[in-house]
Amino acid sequence: MPPLAFSSQLINLFAALLLLLGFAMLTQRRILSLINLFALQGFVLVLSTAVVAYSTNQGHLYYSALLTLLLKVLFLPWILHRLIRALNVRWDVEPLINIPATMLIGIVLVIFAFNLATPISQIAGTITKSTLGIATATILLAFLMMITRRKAVSQVIGFLAMENGLFFAATSTTYGMPMVVELGIALDVLVATLIFGVFFFHIRETFESLDIHHLEKLKER
């Protein structure tokens, strides 16, 4: 099979890096590293979008990449860093299932995501169609991270990582959503993070800790 164009190879490489970062976030215990990995994931996303913009001459993708850079690489990690400094959280407690088991489940999810995405990517018309599987896998891995974590901050980072995956899915199948929608989504993500921040303080005030364990008391009585 003839080798793909260089830009396609680059995009595939970035997609693989994205998946690697998704796994790395799954196994991290230090919350500081989690935030840095999240920022790095955002950066890889920016590079990938820029390459797609360059090779397909879609001007609006440059704006998209810029927006992602500002929001996900600079602003959100900055907010998160300030938060953990103010809240004094450094380490996560032991996750619900141990790390090797989490990674095995992660692999199963990746296989599932690849299977799910194959019929769609076959009919896509973009140069990045093969990366839809990786985008779906990133979303599912972020979801797994949210479920298996105990500290509230890690769950939020998982939520934001899921947004990253969704953004990548949008760029890989459709060269990005229309700008107005992307701006709306970015606004939502930003406001959500700010509200999360406010929320953490409330939780900490009431429970003296950010362990989710305290938030599991409401059950069917």
Partner: protein, 316 residues
């Protein structure tokens, strides 16, 4: 190609690599010393150690079996064979058909079995401790290693190392994301199998934290010299396999004498870089507790599997 020059190439390669191996170890230790702001013992230190050891009298336990006495030679033989057939300078050498990645893994496994048995042979507790740990690390690392090698095989449609080198190095440059995953997995396995930090500290004197060193506590003189030499050969073998798979550019085609010179220069440069990189990695990491080793190797396995999956998704 010409059979005679092929044989000459082959012999040259085998002898060269055997002689270079302790230098490789010396270089890594020297880099570590520099990074730790010490002056170090010099890159020729392993040779001095080997010479010292060969001049001594061997002391054996009275209940040591023939296995105990043969193991150093078997070990050395396995490692020499492994290093000899990896295409470091040129592809398409006479022994090339033997350079199958699965056969290589088998060679390493053979060596591991013998050294573990030898460690348990004399009946000391540290020997058994080391042997058990070595087998655990080995059984976890082998699947990861195989997966990483399979990823390279899938791309080049063969498990023969020279063919892999040919496919990756001599054709048009293509970025393979799956190779990126496989490379990281391979690096992790390299650290584990060669008893480097973060799995095992090669310069430790605390027996309870040892893995590899604990098995060879009973050896002395020429036996110990051969085992140490074999360890440095193993490290060199792994590094050259890594270079062959992930950085194959510069390896000469067969019969090309000019290419051989370039290959030699390229090899020296790559080995130097690899050694420095290894030393850097060791300096930046801390030794893990033993029960975290399965996690480490599990990560390697899963990365390698990811590499394979990515290959099927992105590159087929």
């Amino acid at each position: 190609m010409n059979v005679a020059s092929g044989i000459v190439f082959q012999v040259l390669q085998s002898v060269l690599v055997v002689l270079i191996a302790p230098l490789m170890l010396g270089w890594v230790n020297q880099c570590r010393a520099w990074l730790q702001n010490r002056s170090g013992a010099g890159i020729w230190q392993p040779y001095r150690v080997l010479r010292k050891l060969f001049h001594k009298d061997a002391v054996l336990a009275h209940n040591a079996s023939p296995l105990f006495r043969c193991t150093p030679y078997i070990l050395f033989g396995c490692m020499w064979l492994a290093v000899g057939i990896v295409p470091v300078l040129a592809t398409d050498l006479p022994f090339a058909p033997a350079a199958d990645v699965i056969a290589l893994v088998g060679l390493f496994a053979l060596a591991r079995v013998f050294i573990s048995l030898a460690g348990m042979d004399v009946g000391t507790s540290f020997g058994t401790l080391g042997a058990r740990r070595e087998m655990m690390i080995g059984f976890l690392a082998e699947p990861a290693l195989l997966m990483a090698l399979f990823t390279a095989s899938l791309i080049s449609h063969s498990t023969s190392l020279p063919t892999i080198v040919d496919a990756l190095g001599h054709r048009q440059f293509v970025i393979y994301p799956s190779m990126a995953f496989a490379a990281i997995a391979f690096l992790m396995v390299l650290l584990a199998e060669n008893a480097r930090i973060p799995i095992d500290n090669p310069s430790t004197h605390l027996e309870l934290t040892m893995i590899h060193e604990a098995m060879i506590l009973e050896y002395s003189a020429r036996h110990l010299a051969l085992i140490e030499w074999a360890a440095s050969l193993k490290l060199t073998a792994y590094i050259t396999i890594g270079i062959a798979m992930f950085l194959p550019w510069g390896i000469a085609r067969a019969g090309d004498w000019f290419g051989l010179l370039i290959a030699l220069a390229a090899l020296v440069a790559k080995l130097a870089l690899a050694g420095a990189g290894l030393a850097l990695l060791e300096t930046l990491s801390a030794k893990m507790r033993i029960f975290r080793a399965p996690e480490f190797l599990g990560t390697a396995f899963l990365l390698a599997t990811l590499g394979m999956l990515t290959h099927f998704l992105l590159e087929v």
